[in-house]
């Protein structure tokens, strides 16, 4: 498989590899894909009080395109609001990394990972609100 220079760059120098504390209330974690499919992405976001993604980390089991897609996704969403991050589309990743047709699913997975991390963050926030409203009554 001949990859674009951008895929190779992200693969060789992945941005934002690592983990955030998944127990933390202001961290959302997305885990998408499956080992049996050959791709698993974990993408985490740390969100500020004003709703801005102030940090993002990823770990990926998958091919070069999957690693590059998740690396790019974390790079992009840092500094975005949750709404902005929700609007990141896999087609933008395909375009930026010049992914061949057989690798489009890698970009889909990265989009899913962002959405899943945001959903997890929102779920936690709602839970916390319920908790605090219950505590206040």
């Amino acid at each position: 498989m001949a990859y674009s220079g951008k895929v190779i760059d992200h693969y060789e120098n992945p941005r934002n590899v690592g983990s955030l504390n998944k127990e933390s209330l202001n961290v959302g974690t997305g885990l998408v894909g499956a080992p049996a499919c050959g791709d698993v992405m974990k993408l985490q976001i740390q969100v500020s009080e004003t709703g801005v993604i102030e940090d993002a980390k990823f770990k990926t089991f998958g091919c070069g395109s999957a690693i590059a897609s998740s690396s790019l996704a974390t790079e992009w969403i840092k500094g975005m609001t949750l709404e902005q991050a929700m609007s990141v589309r896999n087609t933008q990743i395909v375009q930026e990394l010049n992914l061949p047709p057989v690798k489009i699913h890698c970009s889909v997975l990265a989009e899913d990972a962002i959405k899943s991390a945001i959903a997890d963050y929102r779920r936690k926030q709602r839970g916390a609100q319920v908790q605090s409203s219950l505590g206040g009554s």
């Binding site: 590899v17 894909g33 499956a34 049996a36 499919c37 974990k42 998958g62």
Partner: protein, 406 residues
């Protein structure tokens, strides 16, 4: 000392032409350009003489006679000619064919094609070590079985089938026994008599000969018949028409001669290199699994899974080392290796497999370089693998309900 890069360790895919082979071929691209079928002049006679010498050389490598060798364009054609040719010729005796799920696509797709024209095919499973059980063949044989096709050694994992026992079972029931011997001949002892083989596919470029030339052994005593699949001038005693690739055939002959002469020594050297590679990796990398039998394996073959690291990503990291992977990501199908799956390798482990194929021109320095590189890169990729992180923190990955699980 660092070895010269890139390093070639994909000798199951193809091998480099041995310089001695190239030297033997060169005159046939130049002054000796004749058509071996030209009977009326010295150009043709010289080409024919060279082709007949090569026929003897290739035959000798498998214990056959030159008159039993039919030249083809390569192993895919040999497999097609053997199976389609015998199935067609013996059709009045039955319509049942037996093969195994781990065969090369040239065999499997040929069988699938025959199924469309009324043949019934049994695809035998293999044992966990990748080998076909002779008893399974014996049990599958019926009075309607006309062809059995089982490979000598597997191209993905390098495991060696017990072809002698299988051949015995096949001949006891009178079916034709075809052996795709492409990966084994020249590397391990093989002869048509002890394998009870009727048809044997061979390829030059897997034994340091040129691409684009192969052969099919067709037994004469007792005579085995095949219907040709290419019609034309009646070359190769009518079994395969088409002007012969004289330089390629000369190269094939030389390659077969060298492989037969040097096999004992070379296989010892390759086995030592393979074990150095295997043990070297195992000493430095945890959570690896050897795929396929260790005992019944081609000397230069190593197929290993590296848990929690996807195969294509690892191949990309092993830049300057040519290997291959059973990962889905190396193919357009998105399904991992059907050979590993047939052996019962879990699908997530099949995604992490790497095939190393050592050959005549590999050195100890190269092996040591590759061990070091594999250890470094697996470590790096595991550090960025969520599965490795989970495994290290005691999460049972199998207990997770994965989305999109097939």
């Amino acid at each position: 000392m660092a070895p010269k890069l890139p390093i070639y360790m994909d000798n199951h895919a193809t091998t480099r032409v041995d310089p001695r082979v190239l030297e033997a071929m060169l005159p046939y691209f130049g002054e000796e350009f004749g058509n071996a079928a030209s009977r009326s002049h010295v150009f043709g006679w010289n080409a024919e003489r060279a082709v007949e010498q090569a026929r003897e050389q290739v035959a000798a490598a498998i214990g056959a006679s030159g008159r039993e060798i039919v030249w083809t364009s390569g192993a895919t054609e040999s497999d097609n000619l053997a199976i389609k040719g015998a199935a067609e010729f013996y059709r009045d005796r039955g319509n049942h064919i037996i093969t195994a799920v781990t065969e090369h696509k040239a065999v499997l797709d040929t069988c699938k094609r025959l199924e469309k024209s009324g043949f019934e095919v049994t695809y035998l499973p293999v044992e966990r070590d990748g080998r076909v059980n002779p008893q399974a063949v014996a049990d599958a044989l019926t009075d309607r079985t006309i062809v059995v096709s089982i490979m000598l050694a597997n191209n993905e994992v390098g495991t060696i089938n017990p072809v002698a026992e299988i051949g015995q079972a096949v001949k006891a029931r009178g079916a034709v026994f075809h052996v795709d011997a492409v990966q084994g001949v020249g590397k391990i002892p093989f002869d048509v008599a002890s394998a009870h083989a009727d048809l044997v596919s061979l390829s030059a470029h897997k034994m340091y000969g040129p691409k684009g030339v192969g052969a099919l052994y067709v037994r004469r005593k007792p005579r085995v018949r095949i219907t040709p699949i290419i019609d034309g001038g009646g070359h190769e005693r009518g079994m395969r028409s088409g002007t012969l690739n004289v330089p390629g055939i000369v190269g094939f002959g030389k390659a077969a001669e060298i492989s037969a002469a040097e096999m004992a020594e070379e296989s010892k050297r390759l086995l030592a290199l393979r074990e150095r590679l295997r043990l070297g990796i195992e000493a430095r990398v945890t959570d690896t699994v050897l795929n396929g039998s260790l005992e019944y394996r081609l000397p230069g073959s190593l197929n290993m899974s590296f848990a929690y690291v996807e195969g294509e990503a690892l191949m990309m990291a092993l830049k300057d080392v040519a290997v291959s992977s059973g990962s889905a990501c190396t193919s357009a199908s998105l399904e991992p290796s059907y050979v590993l799956r047939a052996m019962g390798v879990p699908v997530e482990m099949a995604h992490t497999s790497i095939r190393f194929g050592l050959g005549r021109f590999n050195t100890e320095e190269e092996v040591d370089y590759v061990i070091d590189l594999v250890a470094q890169k697996v470590k790096k990729l595991r550090e960025m693998s969520p599965l490795w992180e989970m495994a290290q923190s005691g999460v049972d990955i199998k207990s997770i309900q994965w989305a999109g699980q097939r």
